[in-house]
C-alpha cells in the first residue's frame, strides 16, 4: 500500500525522509549493541563471577548505547512528524489554490461543506500515513534486517528460525486482513448506520413528543442497539482471530528460540552469552513487524483520504483567458448570446440549450421561469463562473472568453440570492471589492442600501464582526450588505440573481426601494421569481427546461398564450 501519489509528495522533502530512515536504522544498530553488552555483562557476572568493578566498562558502554537509542527514537519521531506536518501544510495550500482556480462553477456543483472538510480534516487524515505508516515500512525492513544480520553472524540455526518466521507475520497479516476486511467493513457500515439511526430518532424527538410517542422510543433505541451489538460481536469473533494469530506467531517464535538455544546450551553446543543475546533480540526482531500490522489501518485511512484530495487535483482547470486586446475595458455597448449551450459536468442534461439574446447598454432584462429552468446559469455564464460548451457570448464584437476575467468582472456588480458574509467587520464586508475605500464611501454605500441606521444601532457600529463566528445577520440584512457592496462598486452592469427570493413579503417590499435605486440608469440583468418586479423591464425572457420559450415586454407577453400568462394567473389568482 505504498501510494504512488503520496510517495511523490515526499520527494520534495528528501532530507527529512532520509533523516527518518537513517535514524531508524541507527536505532536498529543500537538495539543490537544494547543486547550485546547486556548479554556480556550478565554472562560475566553469572558465569565468571565478575565483580561490578570488572564489568564497569561494558556497563558504561551499555548506558551510553541506551541513551543513544533513546535519542535516535526521539529523532525518528520528530523527523517523521515534521515530514507529515510540512507535507500536509503544503498539500492544503496547493489544494485550496487549485479549488480557487477551478472557480465558483466548480464549488457550486460540489458540496462546499464537503470541500472545506477535505481541505481541513481530509488533509489532516494524511498525518498518520506520513508520520507512522510510511516510516514504519522502512523500519520494519531495516531493523529486522540489522538484527538478522547480527544473529546470522553468531548462530546460523537461530538466524534461520527468525528468517523463516519473519515473513509469516506480514504474510498472515495480509491473508487474514483480506479475509476479515469485508467483515470489518460490514461492521463499520452497520456502526455508522446505527449512529445515523440514533441521530434520526434524536432529531425527530420534538415530533415524537408532539405525537405523544417519545417515552416509548427509548425502548426502540435499546432494542436496535442491542441487536446491532449481537450481530457485530459475531463478526468481531472472527475478525479478532487476526490478532490471535499474529500474537501467537511472535510469542511462539520467541519461545521456540528460547527452548532451542536452551537445549543446545544444555549439551554445550552454544555459549551462554550469545544465547542470551539471541533471546533479548528475538522480541525486538518481531516488534517492528507487529507495529506495521497495527499501523496498516492508518495507511489505509491515509490512502482513502488521499483519493478524495487527488480527485479534486485531477479536475482539470478551465482554460486561462487571453488578455483582452485593449488591456482594459471601461464600458461596453452590448452583450450577445449566440446559440449558447451549457452543461455541468456531472449532469448529462443540458442546463441551457441554444440560447440567443442580446442586452444593450441601459436596458433592463428580466429572466423568469420555474426554478431549475436555467436562469441562474445565464448569470453564471455572464460572471464567467462557467464557460459555455457551445456557442459564444460576444461583448462589443469580441468573445467574452478572450477577455480577462478580473477585468470583465470589474465592470459588474453581482447580487446573488445568498450573499456570503465573511468573518470580518461590517465595514470590510461592504468594502469587500475595494479595500482602499474610505469610511465616507462605505457609509454612503450603506445609506444607499438602507443599512446605515441598523449599523449605527450596533454597539460596535461598522467594526462589528459578522459571519461564521461573528454576529449573524438576518436574510434581509445580509442582502443589504450585498447591495451596499454593489453601490460601492458603482458598476456599469448589474446582475441580480433572485435577490429577494427567500425573504418574507414584508422584508422583500422594504428591500425593493434600495434595489430600484441601484438599478437606476444601469444596464441590468435581473432574475426574479415574482412578476410584479418585472413589469417595467425592457425585455422579459421566459425560461423553461433550459430554453427561452417566450420573450418580449410585459404587455406583449400577457397577450400571448403561454407560460408567462399562467405564471401571472397563479399569482393573481390565489385568494
Amino acid at each position: 500500500m505504498l501510494d504512488k501519489r503520496l510517495w511523490t509528495e515526499t520527494r520534495k522533502h528528501r532530507l527529512l525522509m532520509a533523516l527518518t530512515i537513517g535514524l531508524a536504522f541507527l536505532g536498529g544498530v543500537f538495539t543490537v549493541a544494547q543486547a550485546y553488552w547486556m548479554s556480556q555483562v550478565i554472562s560475566d557476572v553469572f558465569l565468571q563471577q565478575a565483580t561490578l568493578a570488572a564489568v564497569q566498562r561494558p556497563m558504561a558502554l551499555l548506558l551510553g548505547v541506551m541513551v543513544l537509542r533513546a535519542v535516535a527514537l526521539f529523532g525518528t519521531e520528530l523527523s517523521a512528524n515534521y515530514l507529515a506536518i510540512v507535507i500536509k501544510s503544503n498539500l492544503r495550500q496547493r489544494l485550496l489554490a487549485h479549488i480557487l482556480a477551478l472557480g465558483p462553477g466548480y464549488t457550486q456543483s460540489e458540496s462546499s461543506g464537503e470541500l472545506s472538510n477535505t481541505l481541513m480534516e481530509g488533509v489532516e487524515h494524511l498525518e498518520k500515513y506520513f508520520s507512522e505508516y510510511l516510516p514504519q515500512i522502512f523500519i520494519s525492513a531495516l531493523i529486522p534486517l540489522t538484527i538478522l544480520f547480527s544473529v546470522f553472524s553468531l548462530d546460523l540455526l537461530s538466524g534461520l528460525v527468525l528468517l523463516f518466521t519473519a515473513p509469516l507475520i506480514p504474510y498472515f497479516m495480509v491473508l487474514i486482513g483480506r479475509a476479515t476486511e469485508a467483515l470489518t467493513q460490514r461492521q463499520w457500515t452497520s456502526l455508522s448506520r446505527l449512529s445515523a439511526h440514533f441521530l434520526d430518532v434524536v432529531q425527530g424527538l420534538v415530533t415524537l413528543k408532539a405525537l405523544g410517542r417519545s417515552k416509548q422510543q427509548a425502548t426502540t433505541v435499546r432494542i436496535i442497539s442491542d441487536q446491532y451489538a449481537q450481530a457485530t460481536l459475531g463478526v468481531l469473533r472472527v475478525a479478532f482471530l487476526s490478532a490471535l494469530v499474529l500474537e501467537l506467531l511472535a510469542t511462539i517464535s520467541t519461545a521456540i528460540i528460547a527452548v532451542q538455544v536452551g537445549l543446545r546450551l544444555l549439551y554445550g553446543g552454544l555459549d551462554f552469552a550469545p544465547a542470551l543475546f539471541l533471546l533479548i533480540l528475538a522480541p525486538e526482531f518481531y516488534q517492528p513487524l507487529r507495529n506495521l500490522g497495527a499501523r496498516f489501518h492508518a495507511g489505509a485511512e491515509g490512502v482513502a483520504a488521499a483519493n478524495r484530495i487527488f480527485e479534486v487535483f485531477e479536475t482539470p482547470l478551465p482554460e486561462k483567458s487571453l488578455i483582452a486586446p485593449k488591456g482594459t475595458l471601461s464600458d461596453f455597448a452590448s452583450i450577445q448570446f449566440k446559440h449558447v449551450s451549457l452543461s455541468y459536468q456531472e449532469r448529462s442534461q443540458l442546463a441551457l440549450s441554444d440560447i440567443s439574446f442580446e442586452i444593450n447598454k441601459g436596458q433592463k432584462v428580466a429572466l423568469v421561469g420555474a426554478s431549475g429552468a436555467g436562469k441562474s446559469s445565464i448569470a453564471n455564464l455572464l460572471m464567467r463562473f462557467v464557460d459555455p460548451q457551445e456557442g459564444q457570448i460576444v461583448v462589443d464584437g469580441s468573445d467574452l472568453q478572450k477577455i480577462d476575467r478580473a477585468i470583465w468582472r470589474n465592470q459588474i456588480a453581482w447580487v446573488p440570492q445568498f450573499p456570503h458574509l465573511f468573518f470580518d467587520s461590517l465595514a470590510a464586508n461592504i468594502a469587500f471589492g475595494h479595500p482602499d475605500a474610505t469610511q465616507e464611501q462605505i457609509e454612503a454605500a450603506a445609506r444607499d442600501a438602507e443599512l446605515d441606521d441598523f449599523i449605527q444601532s450596533l454597539p460596535d457600529g461598522y467594526a462589528t464582526q459578522v459571519g461564521e463566528r461573528g454576529l449573524r445577520l438576518s436574510g434581509g440584512q445580509s442582502q443589504r450588505v450585498a447591495l451596499a457592496r454593489a453601490f460601492l462598486r458603482n458598476p456599469n452592469f448589474l446582475i441580480l440573481d433572485e435577490p429577494t427570493a427567500h425573504l418574507d413579503p414584508q422584508t422583500e417590499t422594504q428591500l425593493q426601494k434600495a434595489i430600484r435605486r441601484l438599478m437606476k440608469e444601469r444596464t441590468t440583468l435581473i432574475i426574479v421569481h415574482r412578476l410584479d418586479t418585472v413589469v417595467d423591464a425592457d425585455q422579459i425572457l421566459v425560461f423553461s427546461d433550459g430554453r427561452i420559450v417566450q420573450g418580449g415586454t410585459h404587455t406583449e407577453l400577457l397577450e400571448q398564450e403561454g407560460i408567462y400568462r399562467q405564471l401571472q394567473q397563479s399569482f393573481v389568482g390565489s385568494p
Binding site: V45, F46, Q49, L52, V55, M66, E77, N81, V86, S89, I99, L100, S112, S116, M120, F198, L199, D200, V201, Q203, G204, L205, V206, L208, K209, L211, K215, Q217, A218, V221, R222, S225, Y228, L236, R237, A243, L246, E247, T251, I252, T254, A255, V259, V261, G262, L266, F272, L276, L279, M383, F385, R405, A413, P416, H420, F423, G433, P435, P505, S570
Partner: protein, 574 residues
Amino acid sequence: MKILQRLSALVFPFYRGMLLSIVIGAATIGSSVALMATSAYLISRAALQPSIAEIQTTIVAVRLFGITRGVFRYLERYVSHNVTFQILTHLRVWFYEVLEPVTPAAIQDRHSGDLLSRSTNDVDTLREFYLRVLAPPLVAAVIIIGVTFFMGTFDSSLAFTLAFFLLLVGVGIPVSTRWLAKAPQQSLIDLRSHIQTSIVDTVQGLADLSAYSQEDRYLNAVSDLNHNFRNAQKRVAVINALQAGLSNLSMYVAIWAVLLIGIMLVNAGSIDGVFLATLVLASLASFEAVLPLGQLSHPIDQSQAAGERLFEIADTPPAVVDQPVAAKINSSIENILFNNLSFRYSNHEPEVLRDISFELSRGQSLAVVGPSGAGKSTLINLLLRFWEVPEDSILLDGQDIRTFPQEEIRSLFSVVSQYSHLFNATIRDNLLVAQPSATVEDLIQATRLAEIDGFIQSLPQGNDTWIGEQGHLLSGGERQRLAIARALLLDRPYLLLDEPTANLDALTEQAILKTIHNNLGHKTILMITHRIVGLDNFDHIIVMDKGQIKQQGKHEELIGDDGLYRRMWSIQDK
C-alpha cells in the same frame, strides 16, 4: 476531573465485564513478562548444564506462555468489545432519556441541528471511554503491583527501583508532558478553528470572492494561517517526540539500574546469579503495560469534552415539570381558553406574547395569521406544554393547563408542523410511529384522508417504500401529506397545524389546504400561517403582530378593514 468521575459513574453498572477484561488484559501482558522471565531462567539454568529432567518444567512453562499471550489477547479484545457495546447502548438510552424531557426548550436557542449531531457523535466517542481511558491505567496498575511483588521476592531495592521507573513512565512523564503541551495544544486548537473559518469563508464565499476579484487576498490569508498552524504543530510534535524519547530512556535506565543492583546483589551473594537474566528481561517486558499510557492524553481530552457537552444538556432543568398531584384529564375537553397570556422565553428576552386572549371551542376552525416573528408558533409550543406558561393563562374547560400531566395534554392534539420530522425508514414505519398498534385499515383510512393513498399505491413497493433521510425521496407536498396522515392516525379531538404549507409552492399549498378543508372540516382546527391563502373557510381568524392580537374576525370582514390583514394580503398577491 469531575467530568471523568461522572463518566466513570455512568459506565459503572458494567463493572463485572470491565473487571473481567482488565484481568484478562493483565494476563496478556503478564504472559509476555512470564515468557521472558522463564526463557531467561531456562537458558541460565541450561548454561549450568544440569540433566534435562531438571529443566523440563521450565521448558513446558516457556511453551505455555508462548501460547497464552495470543489466547488472552483474543479473549481480552472480545470481552472488552462486548462491554463497549453494552456501554454504547446504555449511553444512547441514557442520552435519549435526558434529552426527552428538555426537548425542545433546552435545544431551541442553540443551533439545534448542530447540537444534536454533535451530541450523537459525543455518545459515539464516549463508547470508547472505558476501552481507551479507564482500562489501560487499570491494567497497568495490576502489572505494576504484580512485578513489584515478583521483584520483592528477590530484594526490596529491586522492587522499589522498578516500581519507581514504571510509575515514572506510566504517570510522571505523561502528566508532565500533558502539562507542558497544554499551551501549545490550546494554540493549536485555536489556530485550527481560525483556519477552518477562513477555509469555509473562502470556499463558501468563492462566488463572492471571484465577483470582486479577491481570490488572492484570501488565498494569502489562508497561507499565513496555514504557516502558523504548521509551526504550532511542530511545537506539539517536539513535545510528543520528547515524551517518546524520555519514556524509552527511562525504560532503558530502569533496566540498567536493575542490572546494576542485580550485579551488586549477586556479588554480595544475596541472590543466585542464575536469576540475573530473569530479573532484567522480566523488567524489560513489564514496560509494555506503561508505555501506552503516554497516549492517554488525547482520549482523556476527547472524553472530557464530549462528557462536558452531554452533561450540560443532562443538567438542564426541564422547562415544564408536572405538578406532584396532577389532575386527570377529560378527553372530551370542550373548550380551550387563552386568558391574558403573556410570555417570554427567558428573563433576558423580550416578551413574545402580550395579553393574548381568545377561545377555541370544539368543532371550530381557527386560524392565527401574522408576519414571521409575531409569536404565532409560540402559541402551539405553549399548548403542547413545551414551555411553562404563567398561572391561569391557558384554561382547559376552565381549569389551568398546568394542573394536568403534560403527556395527557398532548394526547388531545394531532400536530402537523412545517418541521414535522420524517424518519429515514419506510412509509409504513413513519406512520406507525404515531400509533404502533394501527391496523391496515387504519393506515388506509388515514392516508385516504390526507389524499396520499393514491400516490402510495402508485409506488412499486407501496407502504414499504423507503423515504430517505428527512423523507428527501418524497416531494415537499408528499412529505407534508404523509405528516398529515400520521397525525390523523391518532384520532384526537384537536388538530394543530403549524405552517403546514410553508416552503411549498403555491399550487401544492392550495391543494393541501383544500384537502384539509374538505376532509378534516369536522375536526377542531387551530392553524398557524403567515400566508393568507384558503382562509375564507375558517370560522374565525386572529391576526397577530409583534406578540399582540391586532385584528380578528372572518376573512371577508378582515379584507374589508384597512389593517394588517389587508396589507399582508395585498403585498402577497400584488
